[in-house]
Subunit: 390 residues, 2 copies
């Protein structure tokens, strides 16, 4: 039985980027306070959070301090340190959700794929690659082209190298520079994502999101996905199987491929709110961020119902080199009926860095194609580039 | 042409109560930072705002400091000091919206009524009352019963004394203890409110809200109002006339009576976001708070369209005497499909103090009666009273 007081429960969050900021925005109406731990002073979440502890993600004394000041801990960045979190949980008794062990899965793509396969969740074919010989053997097995992926540290396409033939094996292994895995190229019709929430004895999934990537960076999210009901149903089921194998409460982002044969293959899992679920802020009854707050605190989950077809598009910095963030043309977004602007509060624009997003909510009779077109036009109307760069 | 940077534009707000808090919640996604001025340390808005200046609302050096740190000023409390604001605007050149002159209208109910009548906006009959003789003369003119209202300082029914006959005149004047006005009792079918926004060369109104008061305190808001289209149209028109006579940009709450004859009479105006517009956070495309931020900064206004029928109910402290705020039974609200909780972060519960609100958003085919019933059940399921008080 939840009783609300002032100050409300405090959530300690390792990481204070845009995910932390949107968590804080969702937490405030519920009376939940956030303290974030992030090495960057004035990190994006700091504007909305109660306080920031400026420290590296793996600085154990700082995580300890965070726990001492909080009722529960969570993380919004995969760089969080599993062992440090485990020790702090044991020492302070402050619960951490999801369980730090989920970070291991996420840290190492090979471990994740093996776990999924062990849980009988369909995944693309893969091989461990420690050197160029391994890679050549993988090409013999899986065919070429294939994708060589760094097992750790990769995100937004970094650490991924497409390999066209055995001739490129040495160069590719050198480029990845560390433990890697080779993965078959999936012939997919669409990329999908299911935002799933594990609560206290209950689970919930949001309507399936269709994700559109370019250069392996998410560009647009379309909800509901333009896939038939039966396929969406299977995507939900796959997400629930994944959720079952995850330890600890919270929002998870589960990325999948819909193959041209109509099969669903699991791609990647993030044990935190996910970029492909930002549309839920306006497009669903309770957003992925509100659900994460509720889940971590052990509160009842909210409704995940769609409020209407919704599209969001990332605002990536279209700059050639780092520059102070300045987004021009914002009036175009502000003037869009049913358009919503989200600014992450990052000081520096770096090439293709995620600086914000726009969401367009449609009336119930509007088509997703139309909304996607509107979302793209909004994104294309604004720019981080100075006049002479454009 | 708006360009967004980090840090974004800063809004200085005189007052840091729940309105300031919800302003900050709406400002954050837009990259707009808030600094609030409020005498209560850890005031409700302080959790979400960038910073708080702890000072009295009329402390001119503090208002000056607020202006120095902001790109624009606004106020969320009628206790803001008009003259101090005027001087600070003149000295610093930092624009204040709405114009401080609107505060005078609001400070003095008699001045407000006279201004409205001068603008040919229909209002209930009223008389100035300085002493018991004035009140007896007013009763002769307007009939009894009538309402004696303190001209200044009244809110949520405080300062209002119903007068049944001339026999009660001395006692009533003594109870109000200051300059007053007498107002005819309006035989109304409904109370309505229109949240209206004055932007830079544009205006917008939200769908008409039906407001339900008890003991002259707002209990529930129903949107759209259960009134016919023609009447709602006239309510919008009246609101636009009022807006015309207001100086400066921002969100205004305009309260009206719908008389049993189907006429619209203006009741009161608040030059700020209003309790009767809290439903717009989830129920409209851009909330009254987002609109206020946009308007004050001179940005384009957002869409005021209804996203679906919506009801909100205030969570008033059901305590007999001041006590630390502790709301029990919150799980009932959290478990309501399409229910939304808003906690204001006040430390102390005082009898009938506004501590938060709940909103229920309906599907488009749901009736307002049904939603109102659901909203009331949520409110009635929670309590600030300790077990032995209930």
């Amino acid at each position: 039985m939840t009783t609300l007081r002032t100050p409300g429960p405090t959530l300690g969050v390792v990481g204070g980027g845009q995910l932390g900021r949107m968590l804080a925005e969702a937490a405030a109406p519920l009376g939940v306070e956030l303290i974030v731990l992030d090495p960057t002073p004035e990190c994006p979440a700091s504007l909305v959070a109660r306080d920031q502890i400026v420290a590296d993600f793996d600085e154990e004394t700082a995580i300890h301090e965070l726990a001492e000041r909080a009722d529960a801990l969570t993380f919004e960045i995969e760089l969080a340190d599993q062992d440090a979190l485990d020790r702090v949980e044991a020492e302070t008794g402050v619960p951490i959700h999801p369980k730090p062990a989920t970070l291991e899965l996420i840290h190492d793509k090979l471990v994740q794929k093996r776990e999924l396969r062990a849980a009988e969740i369909p995944v693309p074919e893969f091989r461990r690659v420690d050197d160029a010989d391994d890679l050549r053997a993988a090409i013999d097995d899986l065919g070429a082209p294939l994708m060589l992926k760094a097992r750790t540290g990769g995100y937004d396409g970094r650490g991924n190298v497409p390999v066209a033939s055995t001739d490129e094996a040495d160069e590719a292994v050198e480029a990845v520079a560390g433990p890697a895995m080779a993965e078959e190229f999936v012939d997919y019709a669409r990329e999908l994502s299911v935002i799933a929430v594990k609560g206290d004895g209950e689970t919930a999934t949001f309507p399936v999101t269709e994700t559109i990537h370019r250069e392996e960076i998410l560009r647009e999210s379309v909800a509901p996905a333009r896939a038939d009901d039966e396929l969406q149903e299977r995507a939900h089921e796959a997400a629930l199987v994944v959720l079952e194998s995850m330890e600890g409460r919270g929002t998870y982002g589960i990325e999948m491929f819909e193959t041209t044969d109509g099969e669903i293959l699991l791609n990647e899992i993030a044990p935190r709110p996910h970029n492909s679920g930002h549309w839920t802020i306006e497009g669903a009854v309770a957003s992925q961020f509100e659900q994460h707050v509720r889940a971590v605190l052990g509160w009842p989950l909210g409704a995940t119902d769609l409020r209407g077809p919704t599209v969001s598009a990332n605002l990536l910095a279209d700059v050639d080199e780092p520059a102070p963030a300045a987004l021009s043309g914002v009036d175009r977004i502000l003037s869009e009926p049913r358009g919503h602007l989200h600014w992450y509060g990052k000081s520096e624009a770096r090439p293709l860095r995620k600086m914000g997003h726009v969401t367009v909510c449609g009336a119930t009779d509007e088509s997703s194609d139309e909304l996607l077109d509107r979302g793209r036009k909004l994104r294309d109307a604004v720019s981080f580039a100075t006049d002479d760069q454009r």
